[in-house]
Symmetry: C2
Subunit: 396 residues, 2 copies
């Protein structure tokens, strides 16, 4: 009854559910305050107050037929206009509303882009470790996700030689995600320039178009002085998939957009395709009320100092205990080398200390584990003694 | 750059946009009040006041991390529980939350079901005329939509002999839509029983599972004494795709659900697949705030008398002018035989009277036109003189 293409995904999800249920079971057994769950990526800083103020004002004062009704599939003109202007101000670009298509979050944004470019057996390249649902997004259209192996020697930056080898006529896009889930790394301007050079070279050599799909749900979550380069400035065929899930803590509301820069090849036809893909995905359009609300909140920010404090304390605690971590630059993830080459055994050892993390193999990055530090500070503090005990055990 | 699969859809959409732009152009030229646009399906009765009251109360008084945050991909437990209870009360069923998966509207609901069951070249059957995006939904997964020809002799009820002939080993589902877009017809209990009998027979003969996908965005829009049978009562392998778009005038908010009855084959695995499909579509979950709001509005109703009045006046006006119409029983569409066998020429003649309708060929129903009467009553009244003039022209 289930399609052949869906079957393995259903089986795999039972494993994820088992992990989730184990967390629930442990919370019942030991008390929620004694279980330190770093396995989920759900923002835990509330949305800025401007959001709720905007929602109440709109619902009270605007025409309900507009607020709750269909608009053009690309989204409200005023929302797209406001986003284009905000980008222009921040990045000195020249966008207008016609370059922006509103979508229910970055996940659906990526699906609309993939639906627009992929035929059966086409290829999309991604750098390991990566968010595992990229593989599922590509599978939705019976195309193939091609992995570039992890690059631990250089802070998990893209391996460009391997990329060059793996690009062929079937390569339609390269997905990048900076700040990165799961590594917390940011791709520097140099990295983006070098990546762009490879892709320009290959586009010319193969006479094809290869898009960069820049998945940017973590753009605003940056902790130090690092700058997240605006990728369309470095490579014309960049399509940005953005989400307000983390920047405004609206993950459940499903609101984001696709930016198709006018400099990209055949931008007008591509934009039409993305709008149609949004419609025929069945999503039809991004949710209407929240589209109107974010217009007033584009300059609002969640309290990222909260994440920064967790990040600092967790990173310091782990490195002092002897663990080898990638220093997080953005997003809310910490990527740590497992002291046991079988990171699943280490995940089990952490569990005995009531600490829950995600094994790296869930991100095509075996030998590592991921901590999500979008948790209460008490969770970080509560986990430190157990982490120190494990440090002693592994490093003496 | 655009996929081969997307290309024809982009070309086709230019035609739709041209029609839309023609409406805008005419409004500018003659004044909006002198153009009678029956071409769109956007609800024009406001959402019941309970919705906005619920939104304001939730935003004011509940935890923003819950209101705007991720929940399990299937949706909030309390929303699914409330929907299951509401169905149990109305249809004397025994559902629980685990039988319901919240989705961003019925369109995405259908896509999650199709993603769960379709492999490349599988087949889905539909009765013409039908909502054209069914073809696109099926194309998303490289499967084939198989049409059963229209049945004007019997009020556009399903042609069951043709259905029987066209079912084969590759047939995974039959889509039905009652009340129907575009015909406004409701499938009676007898029709559903006869359809179920054919499918039971074929399931046995071919030793396969054939689902009915009941697309039910118009369930609550019924004008006379007609009853919309609850399809799972008649056929175990029925999957219901429901939307609150029309019943609560929330079309822009994208809120609906998939109901997988426990009586259906392998219901538990199928439910897992639909939940995963919701996640990997990129939609992740139905929008969170509106999921919480509808809990309080399941018994609320939009003012369907408004549609009923438009329906009556339009139907009476058209039949008095000599046109042959299917009497609308539900939804907000009126399906009328074109007096010119080339209905596109007739659409043109209507346009000269400043009346905009959709040609039947857009629904695989050539020779007919569709009026959407979710318009102001002034639009109906304003169109009647022109319709009478055309009646005289065609019928003397």
């Amino acid at each position: 009854m289930i399609s052949k293409s869906m079957k393995p995904r259903v089986e795999n999800s039972s494993a994820i559910r088992a992990m989730f249920e184990e967390g629930v079971r442990m919370s019942r057994l030991y008390g929620a305050e004694n279980v330190y769950d770093f396995s989920l990526g759900n923002p835990n800083v509330p949305a800025p107050k401007e959001i709720n103020e905007a929602i109440i004002d709109i619902v009270r004062n605007e025409d309900p037929l507009k607020v709750h009704g269909y608009m053009v599939n690309a989204g409200f003109d005023e929302t797209r206009e406001a986003i284009a202007e905000s980008l222009n101000k921040r990045f000195d670009t020249g966008y207008c509303k016609d370059n922006v298509v509103m979508t229910p979050g970055a996940g659906l944004a990526m699906n609309t882009v993939l639906r627009s470019i992929l035929d059966i057996d086409d290829e999309v390249i991604v750098f390991a470790p990566y968010f595992v649902d990229y593989a599922n997004y590509v599978s939705n259209y019976h195309a193939r996700l091609i992995e570039i192996s992890p690059n631990p020697e250089e802070g998990f930056m893209p391996k460009l030689d391997e990329l060059r080898e793996k690009i062929n006529k079937k390569t339609k896009a390269v997905i990048i995600n900076s700040p990165n889930n799961p590594t917390g790394a940011i791709y520097s301007e140099k990295v983006i320039r070098d990546l762009a050079a490879v892709l320009e070279e290959k586009q010319k050599e193969l006479d094809t178009v290869i898009y960069i799909i820049a998945d940017e749900p973590y753009r605003e979550l940056v902790y130090g002085d690092d700058v997240v380069p605006f990728v369309p400035k470095y490579y014309d065929n960049t399509i940005v998939c953005y989400s307000f899930s983390k920047s405004l803590s609206l993950a459940g509301e499903r609101i984001g957009y696709v930016l198709i820069p006018p400099e990209s090849d055949n931008a007008e036809e591509f934009t039409s395709a993305v709008i149609i893909a949004t419609r025929i995905s069945g999503a039809i359009n991004a949710p209407s009320l929240i589209q109107l609300a974010i217009i007033r909140c584009l300059d609002a920010k969640v309290d990222i100092d909260f994440y920064a404090k967790n990040c600092r304390e967790l990173y310091d605690g782990l490195t002092e205990a002897g663990f080898e971590c990638v220093r997080p630059q953005g997003a809310f993830y910490l990527w740590m080398k497992s002291p046991d080459p079988d990171e699943k055994a280490f995940v089990q050892a952490l569990k005995e200390e009531h600490i829950l993390v995600t094994p790296g193999s869930a991100f095509a990055g075996p030998g590592y584990v991921r901590f999500s530090y979008c948790v209460s500070n008490a969770t970080v503090q509560g986990a430190l003694p157990g982490l120190r005990r494990l440090g002693k055990k592994y490093f003496g």
